[in-house]
């Protein structure tokens, strides 16, 4: 009958498709992978990734934490962690991650000159991300925090399809423009079956250091409304503070250098 023929066809198609899809393989030595994404650029993914990685290590000194900067085109991690230089190679031809403040870091920024742009098409980007994930001697890590680039494209797809991800955190600023993209980011993770742990609202409010007047420069509470509509938790609310930028620029993340500040 035609319905059983359809079923046979469907099964055969599913079989052929599954042969072609990349298989997920965990990274050697890494227990849990945490991904920080946003959809929108410039909302503070790298800043948050760096400080979250450090906070994870500070909360429990027995845990080993690694930080991977998957932003091939605009790697910010080297500057924020005050790291420079080409990684060494181990006898097994793996790259040794650079360490600072106890966190093992790897980034495209270590492999190219500071002024050199990475003008690559998707395929080369995929192979670069693969190398940054697997050709690195991470050792034994409890957590690997991956700082994603903006957007919902090749890099996000490659990472989600190749590596089992324990959870994704989506960061956004309160503006509608950023929330639109954050929503797309959340949907992308849903499509590739990665659990979204929650949202973080960044740059929520600015308090004038002189008169303490609070201004919501980028709007207010947009992320809370989005979280409610997507049925996700708000994991945090970070205000705008000059200290965050100052310490990021000088490579001394605020969690380390000013643990008592509001941020």
């Amino acid at each position: 009958s035609s319905s059983s023929r359809d079923e046979v066809l469907r099964d055969k198609r599913a079989q052929i498709m599954s042969r072609g899809l990349p298989k997920q393989k965990p990274i050697e030595g890494v227990k849990q992978v945490l991904v920080l994404a946003s959809g929108k650029g410039g909302v503070g993914k790298s800043t948050a990734a760096v400080n979250i990685a450090l906070a994870l290590a500070a909360n429990d000194s027995t845990k080993e934490v690694g930080l991977l900067d998957a932003d091939i085109y605009g790697p910010s991690i080297p500057k924020m962690m005050n790291l420079k230089g080409n990684p060494e190679l181990t006898p097994k031809n793996l790259m040794r991650p650079l360490k600072n403040y106890g966190i093992a870091c790897m980034s495209m920024g270590f492999l190219i000159e500071e002024t050199a742009p990475v003008v690559w098409r998707g395929l080369m980007v995929m192979s670069a991300v693969e190398k940054l994930l697997r050709q690195v001697d991470w050792g034994q890590l409890d957590y690997l925090v991956i700082d994603m680039p903006p957007g919902t494209g090749d890099v996000q797809l490659s990472v989600s399809q190749n590596v089992p991800i324990a959870g994704a955190v989506i960061i956004s600023t309160p503006q509608d423009i950023a929330l639109l993209d954050a929503r797309k980011g959340a949907e992308m993770f849903r499509k590739v079956h990665v659990p979204v742990l929650g949202l973080v609202q960044n740059m929520s409010v600015f308090q004038c250091p002189k008169c303490k007047h609070e201004t919501h420069i980028f709007g207010a509470d947009g992320v809370r409304d989005l979280a409610k509509s997507l049925e996700l938790d708000i994991l945090g609310d970070i205000p705008l503070h000059v200290n965050i930028r100052e310490t990021s620029d000088s490579g001394q993340p605020v969690v380390i250098s000013q643990p008592q500040s509001d941020a």
Partner: protein, 272 residues
Amino acid sequence: LPLWSAERSNLAGVQHVLLVLSGKGGVGKSTVATELALALRVAGKRVGILDVDLCGPSIPRMFRVQESAVHQCDSGWVPVFAHQDKSISLMSIGFLLEKPDDAVVWRGPKKNALIKQFVSDVAWGELDFLIVDTPPGTSDEHISTVEALRPHKPLGAILVTTPQAVSVGDVRRELTFCKKTGLRVLGIVENMSGFVCPHCSECTNIFSKGGGEELAKHAGVPFLGSVPLDPQLSQSLEDGRDFIQEFPKSSAFPALAHIAQQILDGTSPRSS
């Protein structure tokens, strides 16, 4: 005449093509593109904006036309008009999605194909300026856009940065990209440069200050201006309003108007 030529294409009626680039995300490319278009319109120019940010198209929302759809005509797609007088025309993937929340999770080749279509199949008509708003980075979208626009001899690129070091670093890379691809750099805009507290007028440099200006000096390209953080500007973009016409007294207005004036001066018939 050959079968296809720049003279007969859909971009034949466009006088000047300019790109808004940045290595870094979230610095205000779409904002600068939008405000520049609005300011040029006040100066009597016909402007089009091509939004090639396929993952995060912001332009439709900034003009409050996110619900609009794209129609076909003989020469291709008809751009969406932001106002009744058809002075600003827009094209973005945002108009082609079924729902505004749909995510575009595509790999490179599919993105390249759509960008080629955006450049060649949109019936722009007669425009003084076509502003191309790009996503952050130097990837497929940028390579394809520059390649597709090359026969139309773009005027150049405006690079947007915020003053802090991580942004300036990425924009320095973008400058190299422009040099490599032969794209003229019209200048650098330093956005989110300082915040003046509306209560006490104390100026705080939340994202630092001067990084963009220094980069311009160091790289030998014109510095087009510093735009301060302005909550009225953010709000007006959220609501899709015309900041240039409605908030001329706001703190970001003078800088934005000055940038538009420099573009106009650079393209007036007197200068070569």
